[in-house]
């Protein structure tokens, strides 16, 4: 019995430590980092066109093709925000959940990722004074909701959230490939 208590105590202590340690200070968050420029290169393409409105509407169309709903648009500053909701269930999580269930002798059923909202914000803007060159920058991120867990016959209510920026280059390449096709122009990186 006491061994169980020690184990439980150490788990609580570890989670406490984790909650306290990894805080990034706000002043660091307003500084460009080493990854800023590589992220920028991945998320940005330049198009040789004067027609910013066309670029923006083509972007909206591509996002629609990818299953997104446009949530907000401001033409004057070339801004679009879109989102789609999908299932977030992953095979691997169910396997590790099974092993935890076996190891805890049927007492702990870990919550798994159930649902996710994938969002994109897109900004198009001219980058030279004659406005013959336009830059499109898109940033993808997602919010994941966890749930469906059970600890010793007690249901763990869903609702825990997890957010992350999506930094998979393939995602961005896919979007820009479609956008290039839609506007009949080759996008290039600077």
């Amino acid at each position: 019995m006491s061994r169980w208590l020690i184990a439980a105590g150490s788990v609580i202590l570890t989670s406490q430590l984790m909650a306290c340690v990894a805080h990034t200070k706000p002043e660091e968050l307003f500084q460009l980092t080493a990854e800023s420029s590589s992220n920028r290169a991945m998320q940005t393409r330049v198009f040789e066109t004067k027609d910013e409105a066309e670029l923006l509407s083509a972007s909206a169309a591509v996002l629609q093709d990818l299953g997104f709903q446009v949530e907000e648009s401001v033409r004057e500053v070339g801004f679009l925000r879109a989102a789609k909701e999908r299932s977030a269930r992953e095979y691997g999580q169910y396997i590790s959940r099974f092993f935890v269930l076996v190891l805890s002798m049927g007492k702990l059923l870990m919550p798994v990722d159930l649902h996710q909202k994938i969002s994109a914000t897109l900004v198009a803007r001219p980058i030279n004074s004659e406005a013959t060159r336009q830059e499109v920058r898109i940033i993808f991120y997602r919010v994941v909701w966890k749930g469906d867990g059970q600890a010793d016959r007690q249901y763990i209510p869903p609702g825990q959230q997890m957010m992350e920026m999506l930094r998979d280059p393939a995602l961005y390449q896919q979007f820009f490939a479609k956008l290039s096709k839609a506007v009949f122009l080759e996008g290039f990186t600077l």
Partner: protein, 134 residues
């Protein structure tokens, strides 16, 4: 044991005070820190530079309003996802081709009063405006 208590105290969330809606003295003091004037004629150019600077800093642009010169954005304090940093920037034209830009930043819904934060933001914005001019 003592360190465990100190650690627990470090984790207690900030308590809301009665001055929640009233402008605090510290807020009045940092107004000058939050505001800077730039030599830009066109407000849209300034707004686009603000948006580009925020994107460079990894922010998610949530809302933009051209008529009011308003941009709001947020980001999580990566690598963790439970601390949220929000910022609202207003761009207002002043006399003779000068643009007043004001940024309000909040960290987990508490106003940031550290001048360094705003210095860092305006440094990035200045760079972004400089690129836009060329």
């Amino acid at each position: 044991m003592g360190s465990a208590i100190a650690m627990l105290q470090g984790c207690v969330p900030p308590q809301p005070g009665p001055e929640l809606l009233a402008p605090t003295e510290a807020q009045m003091k940092i107004r000058s820190v939050q505001t800077r004037t730039f030599d830009v004629k066109d407000r849209q150019v300034a707004m686009r530079a603000v948006i580009a600077a925020l994107q460079d800093l990894g922010f998610i642009i949530e809302r933009a309003n051209d008529a009011l010169g308003l941009v709001s954005a947020a980001r999580f304090a990566e690598p963790n996802y439970y601390d949220v940093l929000g910022v609202t920037v207003t761009v207002r034209p002043q006399a003779e081709g000068r643009m007043m830009i004001r940024a309000n930043a909040i960290y987990n819904n508490k106003p940031i009063e550290d001048p360094k934060v705003y210095q860092n933001f305006f440094a990035t914005l200045e760079r972004s405006l400089f690129i836009a001019k060329d």
